[in-house]
Symmetry: C2
Subunit: 178 residues, 2 copies
């Protein structure tokens, strides 16, 4: 099973995000920092879109931002102005996640093999917790998007049995190496 | 592309849930009702675990319950008492989702072909919204689990292009028929 270096994940996420913004989202965006985050259940505010990976590697990709930026992404992508987060805003953020994480998947498949991508789920609230099972570490990039932070993250771990109908607990994600 | 009848989804969800509870979770559980829910962004309270399907059909499976029942599931599954929702409780609910939706996947694969299953994401909060992109309808069962409601739901739609890296918007899920 190949290892997946953090640098390769960051490079692929960066490229995937730049490509989607330059072709689909005419908004200024610049990278603030890349970082590694331990899996935790810290409460967050705002909008989070999650997409699952399946196949030889399993995991999750996410994008998260403030309600303000979510409304702005909706205005640019769907040409629909929204003053507050509504169904269309959630769908717009889900579609941005679909494009960016889908593009990241294409980049990373040459290293890890063909992957499946689930339908995005988008969460909105104040002071909620979102936790992925069996993941210890997220590789993340923070972008500055017209003054608002946009966080794009992935956690991936080799699938111990891609034919199993359910994965056992305690998957070790240490195969993502620095 | 085969259709997937609501009755078959309900039957498979029912069987999958019964099997997991009877073998892994010594708690009394009984079916209250089955129903179909339109996709909406109604805010909810409590714990929700989501698992994605990939392959010839794409979609999401979810289980949702109160914080009280989440703590009880943790006590029974992990032998860990918790007075409030913590990381272990979230992991326990994620693992229950993994087992039930994984088991459902095995039941349904004989009709729709081999599917991939993503890692569960578990959300906890008050007054948050969780919305899946491109889904119009959830098929659901409500169970009564020691006096607390437990909702188990799936939405599935044929994958218009299982080789595509990202799915287009506006997938019609009307292929799930009554």
């Amino acid at each position: 099973m190949p290892v997946l270096e953090q640098d390769r994940i960051i490079e692929s996420l960066q490229a995937a995000t730049s490509e989607v913004f330059s072709t689909m989202l005419p908004i200024s965006i610049e990278t603030t920092k890349s970082y590694v985050e331990k899996s935790s259940a810290e409460p967050v505010d705002g909008v989070v879109a999650l997409v699952g990976f399946t196949g030889p590697w399993v995991g999750t990709g996410s994008i998260s931002c403030s309600a303000t930026l979510a409304c702005r992404l909706c205005a640019v992508l769907l040409m629909t102005e929204a003053e507050a987060v509504n169904d269309e805003v959630l769908d717009a953020v889900g579609e941005v996640a679909n494009m960016i994480i889908g593009n990241y998947k294409t980049h990373i498949e040459s290293y890890v093999g063909d992957l499946g991508l689930s339908i995005p789920t988008v969460i909105y609230g104040k002071n909620f917790t979102a936790r992925s099972l069996n993941t210890s570490e997220w590789v993340a990039i923070e972008f500055n998007c017209e003054g608002e932070p946009l966080h794009i993250k992935v956690c991936m771990t080799p699938n111990p049995d891609s034919k199993a109908s359910a994965r056992p607990t305690g998957i070790n994600s240490a195969a993502v190496v620095a």
